[in-house]
Amino acid sequence: LSAAPEIPKEDGRPKWDNKFQYILSCIGFAVGLGNVWRFPYLCQIHGGGAFLIPYFIALLFEGIPLLHLELALGQCLRKGSIGAWNTISPYLGGVGVGSWMVSILVSLYYNTVLTWVMWYFINSFQEPLPWSVCPLNENRTGFNEECYESTAVNYFWYRKTLNITPDIAESGTLQWWLILCLATCWAIVYLCTIRGIETTGKAIYVTAIFPYLVLTIFLIQGLTLPGATEGLIYLFTPNLNTLKNPRVWLDAATQIFFSLSLAFGGLIAFASYNPTKNDCEKDAVTVAIVNSMTSLYASIPVFSVLGFKATTAYWDCLDRNIINIINEFDLPEESIMRQNYTSWISFLNSSYPEKIAGLKLKSCDLQEFLDQSASGTGLAFIVFTQAIILMPGSQAWAILFFIMLFSLGLSSMFGNIEGVFTPLLELQIIPQSAPKELLSGIICLISFLVALCFTLGSGSYWIDIFDRYAASVPLLVIAFFEVIGVMYIYKIKRFSKDVEWMTGRKLNHFWQITWKFISPLLLLIVFMAFVTLQMQKPPSYTAWNPKYEGFPMKEEKIYPPWVQAICVLLAALPCVCVPLVALFHLVKQKLRSKDPSSLPPEVFSCQGSNS
């Protein structure tokens, strides 16, 4: 009897070079553009520091448990999303298919956002920055009208970058410069994901760590700018009254959920390349906490810069008023300064009220400028670019800022593409002998061709639609079914034994309670609230229309019926996969049960695969 040492079964599955690569990939996937341009905005409009309370509650009861569940699942089953859910139960295969579809839809539009970032990046090498000056009109007598009425920054974004049409029904033409940038972005994605985690594992060292360096640089620079402290005070001053508004809690829950990139299938794919004996509990807590800390860390430079921008705008407003008054009353220069402006105004108002009224002075209020908040693309491409023009050495800052945004988005794209790539690899769409490079090439090529429709004049309206409908409701539904599926179909006892085997210690009661009751309940409430809010008014969008009488305000329009149908389709398609696949298997089972030679499906267990 020879006792041969236990050899772990080599299943030829690629694996991470080291644990750090895996953690970094998960962090890179979770930390994305939303941490920089959505979280600070939410903090600002929901009462500053007070927002952190619902945020951390949601993190504790929704974010970390769901993250732990996904990582444990992927690590135990060692398969991508479709394979994993098929293994748990063929009736739940639809959950995997739904995740896969959402990953595809999100990859398509997310890379187009990166295209815009790339376009701004390559334009940052110009002196002066192209979004700082208005171009002249045809006969060189003045500035371009559209630019003059709005601002140079708005003009560069809406006209020179997007070449936006005034209505979603007008598609406009393909913008060739955006096509070039889109091709480059997909080429970069292909370069990094060409061999799956072999290549993304190397690329992630740069794309996940670089943004932190840039954020630190911006933090140091931002804190030295005048007006930074006003911005920070404004951001963090807690206003506990906002907590009475249920909207705040909803926003906190959705922010945590979407920020951690749950239910995309990418995290399951990442974890599936791990050795099974790995502490997934610690990993989940680490990734979630790093993600939230990054959001907080990013909001400091963002708000320093916004405070600087508001202060500069306030000073400009004051200066313009002062010049007007000086010119009108022929007072000597520098007689009225910003400090004694209010006393002068009151004096002049009492002595020459008609003259003052005739000047039509704008009221300058710092609060008003601080209140002009923006999130999403508006923050990055309009507000921040405006602030960058005001900084000394603006090209360097612009280049740094856009490379940072690009790295943030790229590391999230890796997770999205992995969520598409791994299930396809397992389904063996292409023969085993064909190289992996071919599959990733096909995915990137097809995605590029489909994403061309986002480079049309109406492209940005469509991206808003995808963002609002494809990447919101389906994720909530899929996550809900994930938790229910693992807890009640795979059964919590089996799963806790599996996790115990993987981590080497007993599953804490906290996880059991949150998985069984709290997280599904929270998800259900969030889903209902979300859908109710969407249903309250007809879906509308704001369009950039130079011919609108309220220009430069954006025109509020309602989606035409065919667009609304597409919105519903986008939201419903991934969700409907779940019952459809279950139904399909039910029918197959009924047909098979008539055949006596059929075998019952094998009962799967984590430990079974490796002993």
Binding site: L1, N123, F125, T184, A187, L191, I194, P332, E333
Partner: protein
């Protein structure tokens, strides 16, 4: 004699006052912002600066109309305020007590705006002629847009990276194929005879196998 002189002077003064006043015909308002332009190096606006201004306007008129008849005394300044702002008008010495048409003055100033600005170390914004618009300079546009160059560089790097990875992948694939075919060939040549799961060659080479069941403690074994 003296009385006549006084009379003429007063007439001239009154005439001048009539010609140069705010919103007079052919008069222009000038607004100067020295402190904004020069900060600490600002000079004070005094009679000497006014003299220079009159000289510059006269210079501009001379260059424009190419006749040397405009004198410094033809330029009249009035209503100088602390701002510093004032009105000026150019009289025509050939015709009595009239002013040069505004369009001529405007054209002359426009033509020589640069010279006038640099005489005072100011710019179009800080030395304003209120009714005279300045021509906007076109933005500097390089022949090839800069972004296209940067884009070209980025794209070349990426394509080089992709080609490198694909080629190295193909090479690795070929090497693996070659290795596996070599191994297959090797295994085909050797026919392995097995006895109890142990290849015969192993039995020949070593002097037997130690049977673990009987290997209790550190007993010495007699070699076979």
């Amino acid at each position: 004699m003296l009385r006549a002189l006084l009379l003429i002077l007063s007439v001239v003064a009154i005439a001048h006052a009539e010609l140069c006043k705010p919103d007079a015909q052919n008069a222009f308002k000038v607004r100067i912002s020295i402190k904004t332009a020069l900060g600490d190096n600002a000079y004070a606006w005094d009679a000497n600066e006014e003299y220079l201004f009159k000289a510059m306007v006269a210079f501009a008129m001379r260059r424009y109309s190419s006749k040397s008849t405009t004198q410094i005394s033809n330029v009249l300044l009035c209503n100088v305020t602390d701002r510093v702002s004032f009105w000026f008008v150019v009289t025509d010495s050939s015709k009595n007590v009239t002013t040069v048409p505004g369009s001529e003055v405007e054209a002359a100033i426009r033509m020589n705006r640069n010279r006038i600005n640099s005489a005072f170390l100011l710019s179009d914004k800080t030395l304003q002629f209120l009714k005279i618009t300045s021509t906007l300079s076109p933005p500097v546009e390089p022949s090839t847009p800069v972004w296209l160059i940067v884009f070209g560089v980025v794209l070349c790097l990426i394509v080089a990276g992709i080609v490198f990875l694909i080629v190295s992948g193909i090479q690795k694939h070929k090497k693996k194929n070659k290795e596996s075919t070599e191994r297959e060939n090797l295994e085909e040549k050797v026919e392995v005879t097995l006895e109890n799961g142990i290849p015969c060659e192993a039995l020949d080479l070593k002097a037997g196998h130690i049977n673990g069941v009987f290997a209790a403690d550190d007993e010495r074994f007699t070699s076979l």
